[in-house]
């Protein structure tokens, strides 16, 4: 059922078995697994069912370097459904190598393997509405997907790996009715967690505040923090007490460290031989899910060269430079004021529009007015009005020259941090301060991958890649850390010296406090995090259900034995 937290009286103590703080993809996926389970659940949503300025303002905070990280109120939505209100829907699982200890990446290696999470991916895929769990281009669509270009198969890359797209599903809008119907689940709207109260190794209560000044608590047998990579760290750090002077779970000074996003950008000039038929768009599976090929650096190549995981996609030229000559790209460039911050950031870049610029873009449009009009009409149909949306802009460039859209792993980095800042929110709690850093290895991963592609592309005889190795860092950092991927701040580790949560996502040093969400990922993979976030919530749900189950089996066995005797 849905409850407005402001309807509760100050001082109320809500007693429950499972309290989940945070109602984004992680918290909602977790809560859904308990419908009809007999376990009583309170799901704390730090916001309303839609956007709310006052709730969103609680996300304000500081960023150490604004050129490297977007403001903390962007890419995050404090509402039911969380940041799935704004995501792009790109889904793909982590690769087995992501979980391995790699000698060439400091801090790599999970205490669990790919096999531990693999069983949960198909259900996660269904919850994300990304269709069948099939990520092989040869099987994802009937008859298999078109190749990028016939004979173009760069050896160091697996071009048969694909990404699938969610609607993109807003987990709040999509699953709200199921939560509302469930008699064993209470969803508290607009309830803001300000503190985890713990004594010794036990989390006792979550302290909640409302924007109209009420304060109350939820006391649960088990608590799960699923508030996102930044907010989860902030909440643990801010829950300082005599017993936990550095915050909860922070005895090993790990909370908030290893804050990872992805290294991403568009770069390079991949020219296919004139006349080559190149397909870089979307195909659709039988159930309507959009699928797209990507070039994934093979794991053995990563090991051979000692670099991180990375994928590349063929991409249209960068928008700001009118030299691309495409009216559609120019039209979208000029439409910047109408496009949301999250989408526009990477499309438009930071360059200011000059009148000369605008004029040249205008000429591009005038060169192909019917093409532009047709494109826009179709866009309204497949994107604006569609419930399953065409995922991104696909425009064939002139002369078969593409750039590469690169998405790479960021390696663990103790100095990349989410901390408590000097500012306070309306509840008097410290705001977050983000100091995102990268390592030379992050840039090296991209540079080496590009060099391998240059070599491999030439070997195929179908295309040639031109890029300046000196410019890789600038291109990858132009837009800073990839927005919205907040990873690693309560990383899973083998022990409290190298991690915040154990293999079951339980916070070290506590016996009933867990974390769900990408905060637990110790490494970032090449993959966008949402699908894996959901998969880990399903795994955590399975674990918690076992924990909640009364230990009946032993009783039964002994009863049977007794009867037999």
């Amino acid at each position: 059922m849905m409850l407005e937290a402001s309807q509760l009286q100050s001082g109320t103590v809500l007693s429950t078995q499972l309290c989940i703080v945070g109602a984004g993809p992680a918290g909602i996926s977790l809560a859904l697994q308990f419908i009809g389970s007999g376990v009583d659940v309170v799901l704390v949503a730090g916001g309303k069912t839609g956007h709310d300025e006052a709730a969103q303002a609680l996300y304000a905070g500081e960023v150490a370097d604004e050129a490297l990280h977007s403001p903390l109120t962007e890419y995050r939505h404090r509402q039911l459904g969380g940041s799935s209100a704004t995501w792009g829907g790109r889904c793909m699982p982590f690769d087995p190598i992501d979980f391995e200890r790699r000698d060439f990446i400091v801090g790599s290696g999970w205490p669990i393997g790919h096999d531990d999470i693999a069983p949960f991916y198909p259900h996660a895929n269904a919850l994300a509405e990304a269709g069948d769990f099939e990520y092989d281009a040869r099987k994802a669509t009937e008859g298999g997907m078109l190749p990028i270009a016939a004979g173009f198969d760069p050896a160091s890359f697996d071009s048969d790996r694909i990404e699938r797209f969610s609607c993109p599903t807003d987990f709040g809008a999509r699953y709200r009715h199921r939560l509302a119907k469930a008699t064993n689940i209470r969803v508290l709207l607009d309830a803001h967690a300000v503190e985890i109260r713990a004594s010794g190794g036990k989390a006792e209560a979550i302290v909640l505040r409302t924007l109209d000044g009420k304060e109350f608590t939820v006391e649960a047998e088990r608590h799960v923090i699923a508030a996102g990579g930044i907010e989860t760290a902030r909440l643990l750090l801010a829950s300082r007490s005599e017993a936990h002077p550095a915050g909860i779970g922070n005895a090993g000074d790990q909370v908030g460290r290893n804050y990872l996003c992805h290294i991403a950008g568009t770069y390079g000039d991949l020219a296919f031989a004139p006349g080559t038929s190149v397909f870089h768009g979307y195909d659709r599976a039988w159930d309507g899910v959009y699928c797209r090929r990507r070039m994934a650096l093979r794991p053995e190549v990563q090991r051979e060269h000692g670099i991180g995981n990375v994928v590349m996609r063929l991409h249209h030229p960068r928008l700001p430079d009118p030299a691309h000559g495409r009216g559609i790209l120019s039209a979208i460039y000029l439409a910047k004021p109408f496009i949301s911050y999250e989408y526009s950031k990477r499309l438009h870049g930071g360059e200011a529009m000059t009148p000369g610029h605008i004029l040249r873009h205008g000429f591009n449009i005038l060169r192909e007015p019917f093409g532009v009009a047709g494109f826009l009409l179709n866009w309204v149909k497949v994107r604006t009005l569609a419930a399953r949306k065409f995922p991104s802009l696909i425009v064939a460039p002139r002369n078969n020259r593409f750039t590469l859209d690169i998405h790479a792993e960021q390696v663990p980095n103790l100095d990349s941090r989410v901390m408590l800042g000097a500012g306070l929110d309306v509840f008097g709690k410290p705001l977050a301060r983000v100091d995102w850093r990268y390592k030379p290895k992050d840039i090296e991963t991209v540079r080496v991958a590009l060099e391998l592609l240059r070599r491999d592309a030439a070997a195929t005889g179908k295309a040639s890649l031109d890029f300046d190795p000196e410019g890789v860092a600038e291109a990858m950092l132009r837009d800073g850390a990839y927005g919205g991927h907040h990873i690693g701040t309560t990383r899973m580790g083998a022990d409290p010296q190298t991690g915040v949560v154990d293999r079951e996502c339980r916070v070290f040093g506590t016996d009933n406090l867990y974390v769900a969400g990408s905060a637990i990922f110790p490494t970032s993979s090449q993959a966008n995090p949402t699908l894996t976030i959901v998969a880990f919530s399903l795994r955590l749900a399975a674990h918690l259900k076992r924990e909640f189950q009364p230990k009946r089996t032993e009783v039964r066995t002994s009863a049977i034995k007794g009867a037999a005797a």
């Binding site: 709200r176 009715h177 039988w286 159930d287 309507g288 419930a387």
Partner: protein
């Protein structure tokens, strides 16, 4: 030993008569007007209107078992059932199998077994089915051995409601993947499983004086059904129906379609030309979180034999040809 199937011209009745005849049973088709198909098959027909009790004594002459498949308006279903039961008692019929429906459970949600209480927010149809069940139980007290069958949504070849209509709505992308609007459980039961259950209800002594839910195990949700059915029908890629489309369907489009349906019904012409409508109650069903369990039927009458995949294949075969 003669079996009278009352309402034999209906969808389930036809299939049941055909199956009984194929099994070499002595079956009589009870119809309101002569039916060519039965005549061609050499099946005995008895013409009667169950709403008129005076026509029934002759209809039941020599009949040992009755299956009541009569459908109609609430008042006519109740009247027909009452009259048939009276006549059956008088004629000394040995077994009376009555088709009720899961509609007796109204909009109750959750796990619904054979003994779940009936009557929660039922519509007029469901209430009529409840009233009919009361009549059946009263006749039972007078010594008539009865069986009540409550099939879920009957799909498969011949099912206009849950196969033909759905296929047409999928073809025109009026249905598809409904997202949040299609999370309810789609409690299907294949027509051949219903027929098999009805025959077992006639034959098995232990079925007497019991009520049975008939539903498939592990029924899919509606989204799953729409997607899977679209796939076998070849309507690909499956359309994701925006929430606003369904609201427009139920709030705006359904009204003129309903009027057209009534008018063409009254003038007796053009009914087939009126597109299917998605009524608000149908849309509500797509979100009903009820799962019907047929544990009693599984044991006494035998579990459903047609798999979901096979049922879909047959459905697509049938719907695709029309």
């Amino acid at each position: 030993m003669s079996i009278l199937v009352a309402g034999a011209a209906g969808f389930v009745g036809r299939r049941l008569v055909g199956k009984l005849q194929a099994e070499g049973r002595s079956v009589i088709a009870g119809v309101r007007k002569p039916n060519d198909a039965f005549a061609r098959l050499g099946i005995e027909q008895r013409i009667f209107d169950a709403e008129k009790p005076e026509t029934l004594a002759s209809a039941l002459m020599g009949v040992t078992q009755v299956v009541n498949c009569i459908m109609g308006s609430p008042a006519s279903m109740i009247a027909s059932t009452r009259n048939l039961l009276d006549a059956a008692v008088k004629a000394g019929v040995q077994r009376f199998v009555h088709f009720s429906s899961i509609a007796v459970f109204g909009n109750a949600e959750g796990e619904i077994g054979d003994d779940f209480p009936v009557g929660q927010n039922v519509d007029a149809y469901g209430q009529a089915k409840i009233d009919c069940e009361h009549l059946v139980r009263k006749a039972q007290q007078q010594g008539l051995r009865t069986v009540i069958l409550r099939p879920a949504l009957i799909y498969g070849p011949g099912s206009e409601q849950w196969t033909g209509r759905i296929a047409r709505l999928l073809r025109w992308s009026r249905l598809g993947d409904l997202g949040a609007a299609g999370d309810g459980i789609c409690n299907l039961i294949h027509v051949d499983d219903v027929v098999a259950a009805a025959i077992a209800a006639l034959d098995r002594p232990e079925a007497a004086n019991k009520a049975f839910n008939l539903a498939m195990a592990d029924a899919p949700d509606w989204n799953r059904y729409f997607k899977d059915f679209s796939r076998v029908l070849g309507f690909k890629p499956v359309f994701r129906v925006p929430g606003r489309n369904l609201r427009i369907e139920t709030k705006l489009v359904a009204i003129p379609l309903k009027i057209a349906e009534i008018v063409t019904g009254k003038i007796g012409f053009g009914r087939g030309l009126v597109p299917d409508l998605i009524s608000p109650s149908l849309a509500r069903l797509f979100n009903l979180d009820a799962r019907y369990h047929s544990a009693r039927a599984d044991i006494v009458l035998g579990p459903p034999a047609v798999s979901y995949a096979e049922g879909l294949r047959q459905s697509a075969d049938w719907a695709g040809k029309r």
